[in-house]
Amino acid sequence: MVNRKSLTRRRELIGAQGVFVHAVIWQPFVMLFTTQTAIARFGVEYGFWAQVLAVVVVLSLLFLYADFWAAIADLYWGKKWTDSQVMVWIDAHRPWFLYLASIWLLMLMTTVNAESGIVAVLSYGLFFVGLSCVGLFMALRDGCVENELQKGGVCGDG
């Protein structure tokens, strides 16, 4: 197994993906360990499913976290962690992990009505919408880089 991530790609994983994972991972954890938050935010009919999605999102984010650390180890300490089979698998599924995290953030945005006052509603809504759009953009960008490497396409052509 050879991972063909370029140096630029590794820097992106360390920069953007690292920040994204750290910004998001506490949210599903809060939803998981405080059931009253899930019920208060999503009501009894959706609280359970919010927690189920939180489990899936935590797993996805842990994969992305491992990906981030492997990129650091390769780039700075000369390890070959990204060549391992599990990291190649994570590399292949990375856009879906980012996509799931983005849907999670979009779902949190739907509870914006729980805030009181227009400033709180707007800042809460814009924070989650913005962060989810970052995740979606990263998912698209990741596939685009892969497309460039494997298929000879160019990101943003056409």
Binding site: Y46, A92, S102, L106, N113, L136, G143
Partner: protein
């Protein structure tokens, strides 16, 4: 419809619907970009095309849904619109693949 939109809750539902539609319509681009078929080249124009194909069906559902299910909640709206986005782009791409010289 404007009466329906006068409620803050309904504006959030509409916003959720539109965003979820964009997310659903992005799923196919991610799948194709990361796919194993190396003959397919994709670009941002493909993504824009997918958004445009999801829009008509998504808007119909968005505008009709509150008529039939008045108490639709934002999480349901999110799920439905992601589904509509994925469904419409997949259906359109299947139909286009049946047209000669326009294979993806």
């Amino acid at each position: 419809m404007w009466g329906w939109l006068s409620d803050m809750q309904h504006i959030i539902e509409l916003l959720t619907g539109i965003l979820a539609l964009a997310f659903g319509a992005s799923a196919k681009t991610i799948r194709v970009l990361k796919g194993k078929d190396t003959t397919i080249k994709v670009s941002w124009s493909e993504w824009v095309y997918n958004q445009a194909t999801a829009l008509p069906l998504g808007l119909i559902v968005l505008l009709l849904m509150p008529e039939y299910k008045v108490d639709v909640s934002p999480p349901s709206m999110l799920g439905v619109m992601i589904g509509v986005g994925v469904f419409s782009t997949e259906v359109w791409s299947f139909m286009r693949s049946k047209i000669p010289h326009d294979k993806e």
